[in-house]
């Protein structure tokens, strides 16, 4: 039984006036996404702005309700679950934010920030809170002497670690990291990735690591899902990402990575035309796709392929 199953999860937003019969625009932020995550596995969710990865994270965390589809955790349907099941779900699935600054109530000290989940998940065990807090802080590499600090008194890296510590209070099985290293300096990113790896090994955590930073995702994740326009266009393993990526969008992402040495700078590039946009019919990516053909404009391609490697593309699948 997989740890987490997403079945055709969709989230639509309506934009524009609805009065007097004027047409409303439907924004398909997440469109029939299906995914499986096994225990101990890490999934990387890659894509650019507007592809729906953050919305998908919110849906998984029940911060928003999907319009269609099912979310199944350990065999139980989360969406129609009674409160007891939801409480247990929250215990097992936690979140680390991108912007560590706004992730904390600016008026709360570290001690109080950690106490919040402790009170929610271990009610009545007040005496143990300090001990648990110190253990978790040590686990993420923070010193006890920051207990009385406010979030703005900590550095960016320290705040990010605090976010991780807070998420680990309930001893979750699945940690969702939404661009958790995006706002950090290069040297800090390395430290944070190492920390994530250590936690994965020590605590047996599964991750859903959301990022646009391909090398970082590839480092942490066993399986990678590439999203565009609210849909998953390719699922592959970390090894397959380097040499065997097939979808034109995935290939353009890989191509967009800056070189590592100046002598490589004049290589031929397959740059995408235009901006991040998706079409309402057919393949979402076809307006920008260098390989697009007539069928791409008409029919939506479905994910198909071998066991580990699925691609949603008419051209590649034939």
């Amino acid at each position: 039984m997989p740890l987490l199953e997403l079945r055709e999860v969709s989230k639509y937003y309506l934009q524009g006036q609805g009065l007097f019969g004027r047409k409303k625009d439907v924004i398909r932020a997440v469109d029939k996404v299906s995914l499986n995550l096994n225990e101990g596995e890490s999934l990387g969710l890659v894509g650019e702005s507007g592809c729906g990865k953050s919305t998908l994270a919110k849906l998984i965390l029940k911060l928003e309700r999907p319009n269609k589809g099912q979310i199944i955790f350990r065999g139980q349907d989360i969406l129609s679950a009674p409160w007891g099941v939801l409480y247990s779900y929250r215990r097992q699935v936690q979140l680390v934010f991108q912007d560590s600054f706004s992730a904390f109530n600016p008026r709360m000290r570290v001690r109080e920030i950690m106490n919040e989940p402790l009170e929610n998940f271990y009610p009545g065990q007040k005496d143990s809170y300090l001990k648990q807090t110190c253990e978790l802080l040590e686990l993420v590499g923070l010193h006890q002497n920051c207990l009385d600090n406010y979030p703005h008194e900590l550095s960016g890296g320290q705040r990010q670690r605090l976010g991780i510590a807070r998420a680990l209070v309930s001893q979750p099985k699945l940690l969702i990291c939404d661009e958790a290293i995006a706002n950090l300096d290069v040297s800090l990113q390395g430290q944070m990735l190492t920390l994530f790896q250590e936690l994965k090994e020590k605590l047996g955590l599964s991750y859903i690591f959301i990022s646009h930073n391909l090398p970082a995702v590839q480092y942490l994740a066993d399986k990678i899902a590439v999203m565009y326009g609210g849909k998953i266009v390719e699922i592959l393993t970390r090894e397959q990402l380097i040499k065997e990526a097939k979808h034109p969008y995935t290939l353009s992402l890989l191509d967009a990575l800056p070189v590592s040495h100046p002598r490589e700078r004049n290589r031929k590039r397959l740059l995408l035309k235009g901006e991040a946009c998706c079409s309402a019919h057919g393949c979402r990516f076809h307006p920008r796709c260098p390989e697009a053909q007539e069928i791409c404009c008409r029919d939506e391609p479905l994910l198909s392929g071998e066991k580990d490697h699925l691609v949603a593309c008419h051209i590649i699948s034939t």
Binding site: S187, G190, L193, T194
Partner: protein, 330 residues
């Protein structure tokens, strides 16, 4: 040499103490070339850019040095002279284009206003210039876009508008402060390619401020690495990437995440607090794997380590000396 910066020092006199945001920074720029100014946050790279434009606010002050633009020292000029130079001869674009653009004016109006205030063109000519530059930067349907408001454009488009506005005046120097950091990867790639194209025809020299060594590898002809307000290494881009001499540069290059990396490498510790930073030691010593006694006694200065490369490290000084001794002894 279109720009020469000599021993620039910008200090902040705060109630809690002195912050040497830019500490004796020197570099030079040739027409049409790109200088990559690299470092982590707080190293002083943005402040260097702002100092070149005279945009340092109190409690900060440029206390020493020379900024020679076409032979003239900008630090000797008054505010009204500087205003004429800003935009026309030396321009700057920033990381977040949304806050640099006036939300209630169309971008066409903003571009033309900038052009008109520095040249003697007519409105029609300025409008055409705007369209030309937007097209050069790869913006589709530029005639239509000129009538758009900033909020109607995406982040990538807005940044292109900023670059177009800056380049339309053909400044001698363009300072770009992390212009692609907030953008998507594919959009960043597009803009980088566009800048490369422009550099072939344009004579503007560019100072590209970034923390991303990949972008530096794509664009820069020369690299200047900053740490805690000082320059620690400076030289031609290929040499710096092939033979980095300063331990910090080496660590930076090492800690880049590449695809297929088995282990994440990083620089332990944190950049130092610039407040009252001791000036009698190397600022990198606490994090340097090669730190030795002299590093804690005296701050190293930039010395040439090969042709077109300089680094500020005591280790290199002693290596240089031992080389000399070897030659003498022979």
């Amino acid at each position: 040499m279109v720009l020469e910066v000599k021993n620039l020092q910008t200090h902040f006199f705060t109630p809690k103490g002195l912050v040497k945001a830019v500490d004796k920074v020197s570099f030079s720029l040739e027409p049409g070339k790109v200088l990559g100014l690299v470092g982590e946050s707080g190293c002083g790279k943005s402040m260097t850019g702002l100092s070149l434009l005279g945009l340092v606010d109190p409690p900060g002050k440029i206390v020493a040095g020379e900024i020679l633009l076409g032979g003239r020292n900008l630090l000797n000029l008054g505010e009204s002279d500087l205003e004429r130079i800003r935009g026309k001869e030396i321009a700057m674009i920033f990381q977040d284009p949304l806050s640099s653009l006036n939300p209630i004016l169309t971008i066409g109006r903003q571009i033309t206003e900038t052009i008109l205030s520095h040249t003697s063109m007519t409105k029609g000519q300025a409008w055409e210039q705007g369209i030309t530059w937007l097209r050069r930067l790869g913006l589709p349907h530029p005639e239509k876009r000129m009538k758009y408001y900033p909020f109607q454009l995406s982040g990538g488009m807005r940044q292109r508008v900023m670059i177009a506005t800056a380049l339309a005046l053909q400044p001698q120097v363009l300072i770009a402060d992390e212009p692609t950091t907030a953008l998507d990867l594919t959009i960043q790639a597009q803009i980088i390619e566009e800048i490369k194209l422009l550099q072939r025809e344009n004579a503007s020299a560019i100072i590209f401020i970034t923390h991303d060594l990949g972008v530096v590898a794509e664009l820069a002809d020369q690299v200047a690495v900053m740490y805690a307000g000082s320059l620690v290494e400076y030289g031609e881009v290929e040499q710096i990437f092939d033979h980095p001499r300063h331990p910090y540069t080496q660590a930076l290059l090492n800690s880049r995440m590449k695809l297929g990396e088995k282990k994440a490498r990083f620089i332990p510790g944190l950049p130092p607090n610039l407040l009252n930073l001791p000036s009698n030691q190397c600022a990198f010593a606490p994090r340097c794997p090669k730190a030795s006694q002299p590093c804690w006694k005296k701050k190293p200065s930039l010395i040439p380590v090969s042709t077109n490369q300089q680094a500020a490290c005591h280790l290199l000084e002693s290596q240089g000396r031992s080389k000399e001794n070897a030659v003498v002894g022979a």
